[in-house]
């Protein structure tokens, strides 16, 4: 991979919280490595406490100062000659310049993401003027343009509205418009549709796809729902208990999921065929995602895995291994299982 078509490379990222070394708790995410290509939509999929949100906040540099972060987050320049930056080595000021400008983020709950005491226009203009040297009038004009771009019908009316006057879907669009105001190369969307109704969710997903096509930006889309992921993803990264357990192109993932956990996730979703055929029972796995202190020593999925073999899986963390072209999986038995 040349630098030019990769936006972001994360290498060995670990994040821990709480007390220092002697009685430290295990890191919340461990050895997370992946890369994002230009114009690619990467879906980070996992259940609660899998570490997907911590990963995204680490990329943004929005973790509390008490977090212990190690590893490398390389942000590559657009042109071949442009230097690559390791975000974790940057000063706070330099980091700030990247935020919103090269990497931006939208969050899950659009109800609380807008400041209730300022109008939409006020907040959008604030961000536009921060990123670009613009006059107030010009920024207002551009703000209307951005709202139009995210599919808001009467952007000039919307600019004058207060946040509470808008519906959830509208607010999420405004959020996306604000995230785009700095013309970022990479947009991180943390469960942006979870709080929305299905019909609105579909619209927002379509919007993200369209914006990707128009602007060529990359998107890291975080979700717990594989069906949502399948709707927009180019690449699927599955996280479980703080680790990446599968990283694959969407096509390969949905045709040949290699990790038993990924299969379990897919099985847990009611499919259209099941509904059509009146089939009532889902295939489930027992147990829960292990808590931070209860993570097993070997494969973290082993206690819940139907294919687990004690001698093979219960000791020594398995590494990510290739399971075909552009397909990595953290399972020692993937070949036998697939067969």
């Amino acid at each position: 991979m040349t630098t030019r078509d990769t936006v972001l490379e994360v290498d060995g990222l670990s994040v821990g919280f709480g007390p220092q070394a002697p009685n430290a708790l295990p890191p919340v995410i461990e050895d997370v490595s992946f890369s994002v290509r230009r114009g690619e939509i990467v879906c980070l999929v996992g259940e609660s406490s899998s570490g997907k949100s911590v990963t995204s906040l680490a990329l943004m540099g929005l973790l509390p100062p008490s977090a212990r972060i190690t590893g490398e987050i390389m942000l590559h320049g657009r042109e071949a000659g442009e230097p690559s930056l390791d975000l974790l080595q940057l000063s706070r000021r330099a980091r700030n310049r990247i935020r919103g400008h090269r990497i931006s983020m939208v969050f899950q709950d659009p109800m609380n993401c807008l400041d209730p005491i300022f109008s939409i226009g006020n907040q959008l203009v604030e961000i536009l003027r921060w990123h670009n040297a613009l006059s107030r009038v010009e920024a207002w004009r551009q703000g209307i343009g951005y709202l139009h771009a995210v599919g808001i019908n009467q952007p000039d009316v919307c600019m004058k509205r207060m946040p509470h006057e808008l519906s959830g879907g509208m607010r999420q669009r405004v959020m996306i418009a604000m995230a785009l105001a700095g013309k970022p190369e990479l947009l991180i969307a943390d469960e942006p549709t979870t709080a929305l109704d299905v019909t609105v969710q579909a619209q927002v997903l379509d919007l993200l796809l369209r914006l990707r096509t128009q602007t060529g930006m990359s998107v890291i889309f975080i979700t717990h729902n594989l069906a949502v992921a399948s709707r927009i993803a180019d690449r699927i990264i599955v996280m479980y208990a703080g680790q990446i357990v599968e990283n694959s192109s969407a096509e390969s993932f949905f045709t040949r999921p290699a990790m038993p956990y990924s299969r379990a996730l897919l099985d847990a979703l009611p499919t259209v065929d099941m509904i059509r055929q009146g089939q009532k029972r889902l295939k489930t796995i027992s147990g829960n995602v292990p808590g931070l202190a209860e993570r097993p020593a070997g494969c973290r999925f082993f206690p819940r895995c139907v294919h687990g073999v004690a001698a093979m899986c219960d000791s020594g963390s398995p590494v990510l291994q290739s399971a075909g072209a552009d397909h990595l999986v953290r399972c020692r038995r993937w070949e036998e299982i697939s067969a």
């Binding site: 919280f17 709480g18 708790l25 919340v28 808590g291 931070l292 202190a293």
Partner: protein, 293 residues
């Protein structure tokens, strides 16, 4: 991000965490200080060689650390330490009893309004009383009532309780309202529970932590109020000392013997501060939110 620290439950948990070595240092010191003060004021006067009323005109205005009088003597040679401890006894007594009364009434009234039991007349009446009390600056009200009813320890206790119960009511009311919205209360209603059952089993145990915290802060406030009233001459009457009345006396001798003013004031400040910190630590330990308007 839960589950980092294994949390023990309830009030005892909050207290034990406070005295644990890796706990909140300020809170630990505060707790020890408050307990020490209570013990000293309760038992202290018996252990000292001088009674608080022992007059010794030969040795008046002694500075601290002079011979047998550890903290010196006052204008008629009474032992300062003995008077300080006796004064503390009165102040703490007033504070504790007033807090107890206001907590009981306040919790009851707050739950009553919070659950909406008794309908609008009860709510309206309580609301009216609370607004009316809040209309007057607490000290104005205290002094006027004390002057009309005649100053004595029981009247002071009643008046202070009357001034501070509104805070407990407010907290209990807010807590109860929040709890009434919770699914577990809905579930109890759905299971056919009577209002009495819901209040005693579901509401009260969950209101008590917040009431405890408020009461701690109320105790601090009650001690302060007592000192104001006594300082201004409408509280505990001489020759019985209280921290406030000791200061009333001391102002005259500020030029010659500042110790008489500094020591009781320090006792009030430190005790009230310590109670405040204990209250905050308990609140944080119970995971309650900071005070809001």
């Amino acid at each position: 991000m839960t589950g980092f620290v294994r949390r023990s439950r309830g009030l005892m948990g909050a207290l034990t965490r406070m005295v644990m070595p890796d706990g909140d240092r300020v809170a630990t010191v505060s707790l020890v200080f408050v307990l020490g003060m209570i013990v000293a004021c309760t038992a202290g006067p018996w252990l000292l060689p001088f009674s608080a009323r022992h007059i010794d005109l030969q040795h008046h205005f002694l500075p601290p650390f002079s011979g047998a009088h550890l903290l010196g003597t006052d204008e008629i040679g009474r032992d300062s330490l003995a008077r300080l401890l006796m004064g503390g006894r009165a102040s703490l007594e007033v504070g504790l009893i007033a807090t107890g009364i206001s907590a009981t009434i306040g919790t009851f009234a707050g739950i009553l309004t919070g659950t909406g039991l008794g309908g609008w007349p009860v709510r309206w009446l309580l609301q009216a009383i609370v607004s009316l009390t809040l209309c007057f600056p607490a000290i104005f009200l205290l002094l006027t009532l004390a002057s009309i009813m005649g100053p004595s320890v029981p009247t002071i206790i009643i008046i202070i309780s009357f001034v501070i119960w509104t805070e407990t009511t407010r907290v209990a009311d807010i807590q109860t309202r929040t709890l009434m919205q919770k699914d577990f209360v809905t579930a109890a209603i759905g299971m056919g529970a009577t209002p009495f059952y819901i209040i005693t089993r579901e509401i009260l145990p969950n209101v008590l932590p917040a009431v405890t915290v408020t009461s701690t802060l109320n105790l601090a406030r009650a001690i302060l109020l007592e000192s104001y009233v006594s300082y201004l001459g409408y509280g505990v009457q001489p020759p019985d000392p209280s921290w406030g009345s000791l200061l009333n006396n001391a102002q005259e001798y500020l030029v010659s013997d500042p110790w008489l003013a500094i020591l009781p004031g320090l006792a009030i400040t430190l005790t009230v501060t310590a109670i405040g910190f204990v209250g905050e630590a308990v609140r944080d330990g119970l995971g309650l939110k900071r005070e809001r308007a």
